[in-house]
């Protein structure tokens, strides 16, 4: 037996063995997780882990995911921690279950444990089949014991699935028919649509409910405060009825222009709550010191899920059931309980897949809408689907950010000091973290307002995420100006502050390298002692054919960006090649990734590829446009994203490290790719763009007035 381990927090919070695994279904091991499938392939990776530890073929693992009735309470599926925390918890539990089975078999067979092994769920004695298996032994196992975390884990070298590419379970259904929460059907299910104010600061002054009530198929029209909705027998009836209701509504006036100029000025002049971190000491240096200073910015970005948020709820005999694509079934249950004054023990929240969410989109809010309406029509299932414009206008957005950096390099090309300031709204405002945080709850007659939230300088907090450069620095100071009163709703978008911070840090590193006259790859290696970081950068340089003597200002160039997400997750280095002669086009991205033991290598590569393309889209195209009253871009024409013809060629090299813990990859590529693209554009044009997105217009104006 190995040394007692410090348990991952999922296991500390849910210590009981049967919270993780159960053998009550003959021939199958059911494993439980609160982590949910968001298109990242997590359920397949968890099944791989369980199959190896239980020595079962993967087809005999049934993963029960995101269900408050069965799952351990692991809070949110977020922060690229599902494999690191949820996976390692499940792994320890399954390994322990296997060892307990062997102990039970040893007692039954009166044989020494050393003579026993497991294959396909059957117990082998001296390598030969006994008549015992997991399901026969299960009644003898105390499943109510706490997982000790001391079981011997399967060595990835002996594993069947760990570290081997495994096809995702969830894909076949998605190319054949229904697969999403949107596609659920229950007998007598009603379809609902919700009427939302034209902008966040407008209030309903008058509405004629009968305008909708007269329409075909309308079962219920309901209003409370600024919230109004229709429930109908058929879906298109609801679409039409809500139009009629909208036409009958009057609202208070709101034409405040939240922002007219650039985000940088807007953010840096707002009221802030400050915190800071400082490490090391400044020391005097002989010789010429190069000093630079620059400020970068990123606009608000929409989650822009391809499918608008959807949920189904049913209220029956005081009990509420909710089907949702929320990232956190347990926190949502708590938030719903508070918002609806229902005992949380009378609420079950069950995950069903949605379109990719990339963070806190409308999933929880639409679940609240559905729950609220289900309580108006007890016993009937109510399906609420947001319309496209609801998703754009009402889902939280990723906060705009500004990052100012000052740094110095010694005559030997070594970094001497670094100080930065960050301005940002909050990023982590999911339901039940700081308050209820559900849209409809804030709109009801007796509203539960959104709490005023600011963040602290803390490396796991949102805005400061990845603000520390990964480089060796004698002195470093970071100040966070957290902006609690933004007049729009911001929350978690993939990477939180990591995208803007890595974009800024890695752009600035290139600026320092240029000032010192050192090649950007060489400059990074000169200032980086973490061997895994170095190897990742070297790999990206190698596979991209990095050319140290490449000329500048020719319109085409390559750039590099590197980060270790959250300073604890996967290492990613990316080299982007751009053509910036017209509109910037990313032709190719070469990317190296060290994610420790990659449980499902192809799954990791898939996540990285997706991160690369999404990051290019954010970096070149996206910004949530504001007009009078709030978010103006409410459809795909006003909020374009990267398209097929703009997609680059991609090569990903995975540095597989079977002996090291798995590291999260879901958010690891966004920052490095943004920086690689920005650095490539700077080299292609010999002109630095510090404000995202890097549009043609921005380039033209920067070339005219370089700052």
């Amino acid at each position: 037996m190995s040394e007692p381990v410090r348990l991952p927090w999922s296991l500390r919070d849910n210590p009981i063995l049967r919270q993780w695994v159960d053998f009550s279904v003959p021939g199958t091991a059911r494993v439980f997780t609160a982590k949910v499938e968001l298109g990242q392939g997590i359920l397949t990776a968890l099944a791989q882990i369980a199959a190896d530890e239980l020595r079962l073929p993967i087809e005999r693992i049934a993963v029960v995911s995101g269900d408050t009735r069965h799952s351990p309470n692991e809070s949110y599926t977020a922060g690229s921690m599902s494999i690191e925390i949820g996976g390692s918890s499940l792994r320890l539990a399954c390994a322990e279950a296997r060892e307990l089975m062997i102990e039970a078999a040893a007692r039954r067979l009166k044989a020494d444990k050393a003579r026993l092994s497991v294959a396909g769920g059957s117990i082998l004695l001296d390598g030969r089949q006994s008549d015992l298996d997991y399901w026969k032994l299960a009644p003898e196992i105390d499943m109510n014991r706490a997982v000790s975390g001391t079981a011997t884990l399967t060595d990835p070298k002996d594993a069947t699935y760990l570290g081997r590419s495994t096809a995702r379970f969830d894909l076949p259904a998605k190319v054949a028919g229904g697969a999403f929460v949107h596609d659920l059907e229950f007998p007598g299910m009603l379809h609902a649509r919700v009427l939302r104010p034209p902008s966040a600061n407008m209030h309903l002054t008058a509405i004629d409910l009968s305008a909708a009530e007269r329409r075909p198929g309308v079962v219920k029209v309901w209003r409370s405060g600024d919230f109004a909705a229709v429930c109908c027998e058929r879906e298109y009836q609801a679409v039409k009825a809500i139009e009629a209701l909208r036409a009958s509504a009057s609202w208070t006036h709101d034409d405040r222009l939240l922002i007219a100029g650039n985000w940088k000025d807007w953010l840096t002049t707002r009221l802030a709550v400050d915190s800071q971190s400082e490490t090391g000491r400044r020391s005097p240096v002989e010789g010429d010191v190069i000093r630079r200073k620059a400020i970068y910015s990123k606009p608000p970005i929409a989650h822009a899920s391809l499918g608008p948020s959807c949920a189904v709820a049913c209220f029956n005999d005081g009990a509420l059931s909710v089907w949702t694509h929320s990232q956190g079934v347990f926190p949502l249950r708590e938030a719903l309980a508070k918002a609806l004054s229902v005992d949380p023990r009378r609420i079950e929240v069950i995950h069903a897949q949605g379109a990719g969410c990339y963070g806190h989109n409308g999933a929880d809010d639409v679940a609240m809408d559905a729950a609220l309406l289900a309580m108006q029509v007890p016993t009937r299932h109510v399906r609420v689907q947001w319309m496209r414009e609801d998703e754009f206008a009402w889902a939280p957005i990723g906060s705009p950010m500004a990052v100012a950096i000052e740094g110095a390099v010694g005559p030997d090309g070594k970094l001497l000091e670094w100080s930065s300031e960050i301005w940002s709204g909050p990023h982590g405002r999911r339901p039940n973290l700081f308050g209820v945080e559900l849209l409809a709850a804030a709109q009801l007659e007796r509203p539960i307002a959104f709490p005023v939230v600011h963040e602290d300088m803390n490396r796991f907090a949102g805005a400061a995420r990845n603000s520390e450069p990964p480089y060796d620095l004698p002195y470093r100071k970071i100040v966070l100006h957290s902006l609690p009163n933004l007049p729009f709703r911001t929350s978690a978008l993939r990477t939180l502050g990591g995208y803007a911070n890595v974009f800024a840090v890695e752009s600035f590193i290139d600026e320092l390298a240029d000032a010192a006259g050192i090649d950007p790859v060489e400059f990074r290696l000169l200032n980086l002692s973490d061997p895994r970081a170095r190897e990742t950068i070297e790999a990206a340089a190698r596979i991209s054919g990095w050319d140290r003597r490449a000329p500048r200002g020719t319109g085409r160039a390559s750039g590099i960006g590197f980060a270790r997400y959250k300073t604890t997750a996967a290492y990613v280095a990316a080299v982007a090649r751009v053509d910036a002669n017209e509109r910037v086009r990313v032709e190719r991205v070469d990317c190296a990734v060290d994610a420790g033991l990659a449980v499902n290598p192809d799954g990791v590569i898939n996540q990285i590829e997706g991160g690369i393309i999404q990051s290019i889209s954010w970096t070149l195209i996206e910004q949530a446009a504001f007009g009078p009253g709030g978010i103006a871009a409410r459809n795909w024409e006003e909020y374009p994203i990267l398209r097929f013809e703009q997609a680059p060629e991609i090569q990903v090299e995975l540095i597989q490290r079977p002996d090291l813990p798995s590291l999260g990859v879901g958010e690891a590529a966004q920052g490095p790719v943004a920086a690689a693209v920005a650095n490539a554009v700077a080299r292609a044009l010999d002109c630095r763009i510090r404000d995202l997105p890097i549009t043609r217009e921005r380039i033209v104006s920067t070339l005219a007035r370089p700052d």
Binding site: R168, K174, F180, E235, L306, R388, N606
Partner: protein
């Protein structure tokens, strides 16, 4: 004000009744015929998630009033498989693990199916151009192009359908 139409979907004839004459085909397919592979993405012809084949041409079912397709053969993703065997494009997407959330995939497959019928050897550029109006938010583009391209090559290398 309800009207009744005769639809020919995936080789089968259906009588459907709608309350509004402008009811888009999407709602009829999803809610009346329970063909949930037809996905609502925007309802405005901007994303391609709802793409189906009408007379072999890729069309956006969120924008087509149901009356306009009466009697014309309609194929949804559910009707692509033949005799229980997946269409080569469905197979290709799975073999290439070409998707993340998968919400975009049925629309993309239907759009690609239109192209593959007309042009057996389209270049990657043509394929990308054909799919350019189909959005994918997860960034699965490169994988999708690779997977479909590979399927085509294998198909034309003698595999047939």
């Amino acid at each position: 004000m309800s009207s009744t139409f005769q639809l020919l979907v995936n080789g089968q004839s259906h009588r459907v009744t709608v309350d509004y004459d402008d009811t888009p085909l999407l709602y009829v397919l999803r809610d009346d015929l329970r063909l949930k592979g037809v996905r609502f993405g925007c309802g405005a012809g901007q994303c391609g998630a709802c793409t189906v084949l009408i007379d072999g041409r890729a069309e956006r079912s969120c924008e087509l009033p149901v009356w306009s397709v009466e009697g014309r053969p309609i194929t949804t993703i559910e009707g692509l498989a033949t005799a229980g065997r997946m269409h080569p494009l469905q197979r290709a997407i799975i073999d290439g693990q070409a998707g993340q959330c998968g919400f975009c995939l049925s629309g993309i497959i239907m759009k690609a199916a239109e192209l593959i019928e007309r042009d057996h050897q389209p270049s990657r550029e043509k394929l990308a151009a054909a799919l350019d109006e189909n959005l994918c938010r997860c960034g699965a583009h490169a994988r999708i192009l690779n997977a479909i391209e590979r399927a085509w090559k294998e198909d034309s290398a003698g595999g047939g359908k």
